[in-house]
Assembly symmetry: D2
Homo-oligomer: 418 residues x 4
């Protein structure tokens, strides 16, 4: 199984192929096989893009059927039968049951396209350039998104990040005793704080890449209040933690708040590239075609997504199942944390996103490498990769959860003993 052609022709920027140095061939729901036939349990879900699993049978069938009938594939933002079905599925299964009133904007099928779009419309509507985001936030790699992404690994003085953004401390960033929302209120109220009034505040309600940091529900409500009080748009980045990852369809639901703008990508396409921005109707102040993008009409994604929305979100059974599996994941992690108190600092998470923070960051990559060797795909998170994170498909079975955690626990044991 030679990686020679990748090493020779692919840019040095390649990353995951270094962590998982094999050539993958097939995948089904929460299992993957490489070209030698070796099988892996999947605790990674394509970085959250495969909440409904790899090659989910009903989705697969719909895609094959669509292709066999020469259904139109690429259509920019023209009207298509598939797009119409998707809009219906999204409105009826997601928006209406939650009493959410949003306009749908289809954008180029990457999360960063959605964030760029949100930043633009927020600045346009409010007529202010300033935007706030949070320590440890991750929002993408294009110039606008990067300007609100915390991790300096992605920054470089030379390719520069333009101004007009301010990073503010996330919930608990300064410890349990400092109320970071109060700090935010203070600098907004104080005309001499040097902080310009922002058009928007962008946040993940659960920071994923940033190290699995779960914002408290009251903190989220306080932030919503600040946005109301200062006429600031609240933008929640649901790219990774939306689409059911938190147990609800949107991660903000648990706090009982309604953002002004919502960005969706990753699993919104149920395996196919797709991204979307939700706008409160009064914010939909675009001119026709003012923001465009070739692949904003990926009809294969509309087909797969409509199946997922209709199959999993027509009632709350899927949501309940996710929450039950969340309890299992938590239980397994707690057991591990109890067993390795010298190595594990804390476990934290919500829904189907969990992390175990290690006291020695350099251990995590060794453990993940060992786990991969033993048949588990799992990755790290956090500024120093100090967290091992569980991010399995939402459709993973309890059996596979247990199998995966058995492998992980064994890998930790091996590395700790070494």
């Amino acid at each position: 199984m030679s990686l020679e052609i990748f090493n020779k022709y692919e840019s040095e920027v390649r990353g995951y192929i270094r962590s998982f140095p094999v050539i993958f061939e097939k995948a089904k729901m929460a299992e993957i096989w490489d070209e030698t036939g070796k099988r892996y349990v999947d605790f990674f879900a394509g970085a959250g893009a495969l909440n409904y699993g790899h090659n989910n049978p009903e989705i697969n069938t719909a895609l094959i059927d669509y292709l066999q009938n020469d259904g139109i594939g690429h259509a920019l933002d023209m009207g298509t039968v598939a797009k119409k079905s998707f809009i219906e599925a999204f409105v009826y299964n997601i928006l209406q049951p939650r009493n959410l009133d949003y306009k749908l904007q289809f954008v180029g099928p990457t999360g960063t396209n959605a964030i760029e779009t949100a930043l633009k419309i927020a600045r346009k509507v409010k007529g202010r350039k300033q935007v706030m985001s949070f320590t440890n936030g991750f929002h993408g790699m294009s110039m606008g998104s990067l300007s609100i992404t915390g991790n300096s690994y992605y920054h470089d003085e030379s390719y520069g990040v333009p101004g007009y953004t301010t990073q503010i401390p996330f919930h608990k960033y300064l410890g349990d005793k400092v109320d970071t929302v109060a700090y935010l209120r203070k600098i907004l109220e104080d005309a001499s704080s040097g902080t310009e009034l922002p058009a928007a505040i962008v946040l993940e309600t659960i920071q994923a890449e940033g190290g699995i940091n779960v914002a408290g529900e009251q903190w989220l409500r306080d932030l919503r209040q600040i946005c109301d009080d200062f006429d600031i748009l609240m933008v929640t980045d649901e790219i990774q933690v939306g689409n059911g990852r938190s147990g609800d369809f949107f991660s903000f639901e648990r706090a009982g708040i309604v953002p002004d703008i919502v960005t969706l990508s990753k699993s919104i396409g149920a395996g196919q590239p797709m991204a979307m921005v939700l706008l409160k109707p009064e914010l939909d102040q675009w001119s026709p075609g003012e923001h465009s993008g070739t692949f904003r009409g990926n009809n294969l994604a509309f087909v797969s997504s409509a199946v997922a929305l209709n199959n999993y979100w027509s009632d709350d059974s899927f949501s309940k199942a996710v929450k039950e599996k969340s309890a299992l994941v938590q239980q397994r992690l707690e057991k591990i944390a109890l067993r390795f108190p010298n190595y594990i600092k804390e476990i934290r998470g919500h829904g189907m996103i969990w992390g175990a923070e290690f006291k020695q960051p350099e251990m995590t990559s060794k453990i993940c490498a060992q786990a991969f060797e033993d048949g588990l795909v799992i990755e790290t998170a956090g500024a120093s990769d100090e967290v091992i994170k569980f991010l399995g498909p939402l459709v993973i079975t309890p059996e596979l959860i247990n199998e995966g955690f058995d492998i992980l626990e064994g890998a930790i044991e091996k590395i700790c003993q070494a």
Copy 2:
């Protein structure tokens, strides 16, 4: 055929659905059908993303086969069998026959992701922030790409475009008598011109959205020489005019030049979302994972693209066929221009991208609407939409070219008489 659900739920930003107010259902090569069964000839090719046609039979078969075998779909930048096949197809059919030595960087599957990546690596390698682009250039909608896109329709003071970019006049922008490359050389040589030495100059060798402006071959060679003389990276944006659109695989081939960085998207995925950046090996100075993106490993695109590259680019027969069809397109346009000299100012183009510039810009949208009514999908270009452009799939038959131009000619006649 009601568009009500689109009007009610989709953002005001929607564009093409306004020009083509129907719901499309099926498509095959250069023909499209709406949900009522009405048939259209396609002179638009999804804005250049469908050079190999809609649902190209061999590509379709490969996709269906891949899905039926649970081939891995989404895999970030992990190694997969499909990706390996794509790299081989690209290296053997495209790079090696042209003696091109590039590293491949896979990026989020939109053109703007490729441009953002090119801007970043150029700035990083050269350690300079300044970038130059051209009047009427179009490179995308995210913050970095927008900063080098000319058309003010996409800009807004409030969502702002950061500095560090300079627009310079394209070939013939100031008429035939002003040598714009000489102007560029002058401001680069003059220490007091106020122009910072750029890391890169980004261009389309044929401006598409900008109005079908074809840069001369000598002008391109002079620009390459300036880049060499001043240690500036030449970046060609081949997103729309690469992938065979010009008759050659890359649009720069006709000038005998080799850019330092090349961006590819649209038809590189042969119908599936994909984008890629080619870097001269010495520029590949990324750290692992320094630039990332969820959907940079869209394996369905690898599957379809490999088929297209192997089928159409293993020898020069496809390239020859494209050039023959180019002659037919030119001939039909010249005939139309001769017939309507009071309305048409100029026709221009190259390969399978051609435009007719109208003296009265307000006529073009009426003509395109009439043509659509009569069964032809065709669009405009240029700062004031003053150009009607031919951008049919490269696989379109001569018969369909003639059918389409018959419709177009009839539409012009109807509008001119009205």
Copy 3:
């Protein structure tokens, strides 16, 4: 005494003439007379530019003598006899006794020129664009200085403030319990805080315009330590609180720290326009003439400044006298605060800069207007002008201090009773 010509021809931007609506004619030390002959005690000192008083006799004599002898006045940065004398006076009286090793850079004679210069050289030497400053900081009105000035009154979205600056909370900004230097250390240590490593941190050790906020000595030492630990340049803006205002020549002396760069203006010219930047020798990486300015060689300022330095700073008697007067000022203010506890929230200050913060900000301008009516020139400070500040010339006599405070106390009484 008509202000008509000012009202008719001078821009609406005029400010102090509105607070003090008379035409001043003469001034001597800490007393001013308007054109009707009415006399005022001066608690303002030209916003800190007149530490040695108006028309200080020995300085005046030296200036007249210089003019009578046709001494060269304007000379850019050529060598002159007067400049040589100034350098000697500064080196021997100020730098050498304090064991300070700085190079002197003469800049255009405004404080903002000094700040712009400091920002440039810091960025150039460190090769980083980011600069940090503090909430409520005031550093000037030109584009670079404004970008680090907190008060939003001076900002406007349209004339914009470029990025690459971050405002951090000053000492006690978040109350007594939050250690703002610890917060700064945290965001600098955390690679995902979103905070770029700055080239420099710019501060006033006592914020003047910001409301008379005195940084604690330990806080200043902790900040110096952070600068050392992270290779950040510490820039102290001594424009208003240097030149003896704090009791020592430099306001940083009380903390026992040595900044890397120091900006001086206002009273450094002893009444004549002048500004200067002090650089640690290893930072003096300018090319000849790289930063210039017409009036950086105002020889009248060299003449007056040399007299002031030689007369007041050759031993510590002046410094001691200032500290004694500081005690008197504090005592008078404390008495006032005790008398009006319902109106005055807090008094604070150091050396010869003191403030009384009022609970109702709208009272301060009324009190100052009454005081002016009664013969005292005094001004407000703070984001909402909530502070009445004492900023008399350092050479003011105890008698005039008492006279001024008698007037102020009377004015407060009148306004409180009204």
Copy 4:
């Protein structure tokens, strides 16, 4: 005559002391003496700040008198008797006879402060950030002014110049055949040029530092027309070429145009530091104190300036005398150019600013050094210092002009022979 103390303590940035390595002591009108008593003719006038000569007798007398009477010196923007006199002198002698209707804004006494102010108010009033300036333009060293200054010697990637500025080619920049105003009109008219509509266009009608480039009168009128047609503010920087330098008080008078904003500094203070901005009344949209600056009320400058305005500008005799001397300067330069055709490429100039461009830029500094040795203070200009410039005080006598040119001609002869 030791420069040791300067070499030891003054920053490496020092410039003119390197070209003129002596210590100057006295000066009178157009003559200077160093501390050894050596006499120099002055063809430099403090870079244009001494149009009325060094220690002009009537100005000197007025300054001495003011100081002896304890006239108020520093007063921020309070009303003073001296300021009132200045405003009257400026309005009656300058504005009214020329039918100019401007509001006066007093700013910190450096040219760059005036430019920063102009940029701010232009952006504020028009609500646009973009500003245009010209190749080879010079406007100052603070961040905003630097962003519109052409010469790269003053720029550095690290201390960066923010965006929102575009440099356009000055008159004749692309040779006699390319109409640069037509180019400007084209990019402003073309919505896809990539050029944002600017708030203002800033220019010197005669570029001084840029190499003595005199804009044609018709070109200036065409530019004024463009500003009118596109609602752009025309800002003329009269800092160096105003105050009579061109023969008229303002350098724009010769073209019969009226700018929207005018910046003045250098000789406006008649030897004392001063700067001022003139605004058309409708642009005077400042809030009180929105733009401030400590030394914007330098009363010594008001005193000296009022004398100069009343003495030299109450009728047109001074203007006529300047034009006569201009003819003499031109005649002497032409004679020199005829004598050294192999070395001198061109002479050009207007009023009392003239330059001789040398074919070999490296010759000019040698010639100036020789001339200084022989008793003449003269400097170079242009991006490569390729121009020797005449910039004598306007009050210089024909005898001293001839004496100076005799020295210059001799110096050229010596260097050419060497």
